[in-house]
Amino acid sequence: MSRMNLTRRGVIKTGAIAGAGLAMPTYLSAQTESGFTNAPAGDSVTLGFNVPQSGPYADEGADELRAFELAVEHLNGEGDGGMLSTFSSKVLDGTGILGKKVTFVTGDTQTKSDAARASAQSMIQKDGAIMISGGSSSGVAVAVQSLCQEAGIIYMNGLTHSNDTTGKDKKANGFRHFFNAYMSAAALAPVLKQLYGEDRAAYHLTADYTWGWTQQESIQASTEALGWTTVNNVLTPLAATDFSSYITPVLNSGADVLVLNHYGGNMVNSLTNAVQFGLRDKQVNGKNFEIVVPLYSELMAKGAGANIKGIVGSQNWDWKVENVMGDKYVGSNAFVQSFGNKYGFPPSQAAHTCYAQTLLYADAVTRAGSFNPCAVVEALEDFEFDGLGNGPTLYRGADHQCFKDVLVVKGAENPENEFNLVEIVEVTPTEQVTYDAEHPMFAGGALGSCNPGA
């Protein structure tokens, strides 16, 4: 340092300014007015919809946003009311929530935890959002859920399938309507047994992150319970686009089933590679070689094209469910109709879960008579409802996970049009996919207590 000439006056000045700077924050203190963060003032209430608008899950994000807009319309008494008329709880009357008109803000999660949290923060701190919903990746959902817990507002999970969201990373202020990897596995196992027998050797390709791991673990556990063996589990990088080098070893491994624990673009690519390598035409151990994709959606089926034909997987909901499986799934048609009228095509399962979550939140606030997160948590815990398209459903209080029937689906052999790429094979009843809240795959976390914030 060239000019280090200390003078008495200089030192005092510097000290005074530094001292003032350091003392400044002590004037500031947390403010308590309403008892909870972002208590809605005036005649409107703001919800925050934080969905991926760019990145690998942008398609799902766009569909979620459509569903949110529709839900807000219905809550405010516009449109045809959708599932409000079939919902078993009748407190919502189309006058907003507790008489306040519902408005919303949107944000882009970019499918990155950091960006998602920044976007959620701005909704909370700047726009005064009282509830945040959305997300199309388990990593993002877990990150935003913990932010909402800290900030003291409610987080209604959108599409997130990892066991961790309501397992080791569960939070008191977070709720998930979507099903999870364990449920997928439990629902698939009997169907796999029926279709492919009890003596099979499975080879897993797994996306290398939390969702992939929990799904692989779940599928392995439930198929081994059937009597299957697991030959190998290979982790593939999330950013991979060409899976041919992972497929070749499968051919010589002695396995006769390939399980693809991939989602979105990953699954489209790996399935295409597997089919191109002729896996489906092969005979191993005297049996036809089979491919299983535990979780997939109509959007992914569209991407995979003809390769999806006959592939077995599971879904949370499908737009055809009420037509195919009957009145138990009432609400589905009402939702499909109002979504179709507005946008011209049927909704995806991501859209359905986001729509249902928004209604469930609005309903819980109305039943509780308050926007206070702790009152909402109390209203949602162990809440039993029907008429949202999944049949009778329970929001379990112990882990804030919904328990409902799971659909087992198969890629259609001869689809009539691009909306019928997936056909429903079977519906696995709730009892069969229910697990104990202390199940080892979900252990290691704690809800903690609800946080109303400031």
Binding site: M1, S2, R3, M4, N5, G10, K13, T14, G21, L22, M24, P25, T26, Y27, L28, S29, A30, Q31, Q53, S54, A58, F104, V105, T106, G107, D108, K112, S113, D114, A115, R117, A118, S119, Q121, S122, Q125, K126, S138, G139, V142, A143, S146, L147, Q149, E150, D164, D169, D208, Y209, T210, L235, P237, L238, G445, A446, G448, S449, N451
Partner: protein
């Protein structure tokens, strides 16, 4: 004052006033007006402004002075964040040890990477740093999951030990980061008519550190050490011929700049205790390069401006959706309203990257010295005598 000449003191004071009054300056529009969308004066974004400001100041010490373009600076940001979160998990929720550890760890990390990468210069150096950063990212994303929690990101939990603090707060939740009891989330809200100004403790903590970082950067720029670094930039070969070994100087600059990035990473974690692997990805490294060039590489204030500019776009423009646009143009006839919304639509919301890209191109083409050069040009319009002798030599160096 502070061992600075008059000009630098003025600059420091201006930055001091700007950061201290940021809650007012960034909230110019009343909350109930349509323009409130452009307000940026909420704690989270203000914190990001100053934290990324620190990151860019540090990057500029390396890039602006020595001309070495590191394409892997995000690795230090990520390492800083992970260190800080681990400190919160193991030691206590006090932010000071967390921030100090993150600076130290990032410094050590920079020492190792710098020692290897600085054997080459130019494009080879950039590629080496990029390779190291991508390696760190890949490690954090999957292999080192026990330490980094992979894709989900490292988070606090209720059963962390926190030996000097409490595992669970009195209210049953995870305790918040604090500075000797002062909660980093504490916010004082001042309502003046339709305006709402938020003064957050966390922001002021970051702002004070940013001022210190800025002051240190000025001292480095004006020191013989800084002069040596500039000499490296202008002609490294000549330096070698005169018998000087420049590597210790460049390595020192690299480590200092890595420590700045570590400080920024630690602060990010202190304001929001989560560290995700994508903080280390190459896009994050590229972002700080953009910030520095956009603001003006080699200038003191430039990187801070660039950081603010990019973060503003990311957080404000990305949230303007069609509903908001329709509100703005609601007073116009329907046809024109829809037309305007259609025209603007690609540039806001998810299209904020496009707007930022266009801005970046405009700046690089018309103002190679960055926003600082733009400011000087405007300043010159209002000045009587030629401004040549007023601008420092550093400020005139174009970005490269």
């Amino acid at each position: 004052m502070f061992g600075l000449d008059k000009k630098d003191t003025t600059l420091l004071l201006i930055v001091f006033v700007l950061t201290m009054c940021a809650p007012f300056l960034l909230n110019p529009f009343p909350g109930n007006s349509a323009m409130a969308q452009f307000n940026a004066g909420y704690p989270d974004l203000m914190q990001r402004f100053v934290i990324y400001g620190i990151f860019a100041i540090g990057f500029n010490i390396l890039f602006g002075l020595t001309g070495y373009l590191s394409f892997g600076h995000a690795a230090f940001l990520g390492v800083g964040s992970y260190s800080a979160v681990w400190m919160f998990k193991l030691l206590s929720m006090n932010v000071l040890p967390a921030v100090i550890l993150s600076v130290i760890i990032a410094g050590l990390f920079a020492l190792v990477i710098g020692f290897i990468s600085l054997r080459r210069s130019g494009i080879y150096f950039s590629i080496l740093t990029l390779a190291f950063a991508q390696m760190s990212f890949a490690l954090a994303y999957s292999v080192l999951t026990p330490i980094t929690n992979g894709e989900t990101g490292l988070q606090l939990s209720l059963n962390d030990p926190r030996i000097l603090g409490e595992s669970v707060s009195a209210s049953g939740g995870i305790p918040f980061p604090s500075l000797f009891g002062l909660d980093m989330r504490a916010t004082h809200v001042m309502e003046l008519g339709p305006w709402m100004f938020q003064f957050s403790a966390g922001y002021y903590f970051c702002a004070v550190l940013m001022l210190l970082a800025f002051y240190l950067a000025i001292r480095i720029f004006r020191s013989p050490f800084g002069l040596m670094l500039r000499a490296v930039k202008s002609n490294q070969q000549r330096m070698n011929y005169t018998g000087l070994n420049v590597r210790p100087y460049t390595l020192a600059a690299f480590v200092i700049s890595g420590m700045y990035a570590g400080l920024a990473g630690g602060l990010l974690a202190a304001m929001d205790p989560l560290a995700g692997a994508e903080r280390m990805q190459w896009t994050a490294s590229g972002e700080v390069v953009l910030m520095t060039i956009l603001g003006g590489a080699g200038t003191l204030i430039g990187p801070v401006l660039g950081a603010g500019f990019i973060k503003y776009f990311e957080n404000i423009f990305s949230k303007i959706n069609d509903t908001v646009l329709h509100q703005w143009f609601a007073f116009m006839p329907d046809g024109i309203e829809d037309l305007l919304v259609t025209v603007i639509h690609p540039f806001v919301g998810k299209g904020w990257h496009l707007t930022l890209g266009l801005m970046f191109m405009a700046v690089v083409i018309f103002l190679p010295g960055g926003l600082v050069q733009g400011g000087q040009k405007i300043g010159n319009l209002f000045r009587r005598k030629p401004a040549a002798d007023h601008t420092t030599s550093a400020a005139k160096t174009p970005a490269e």
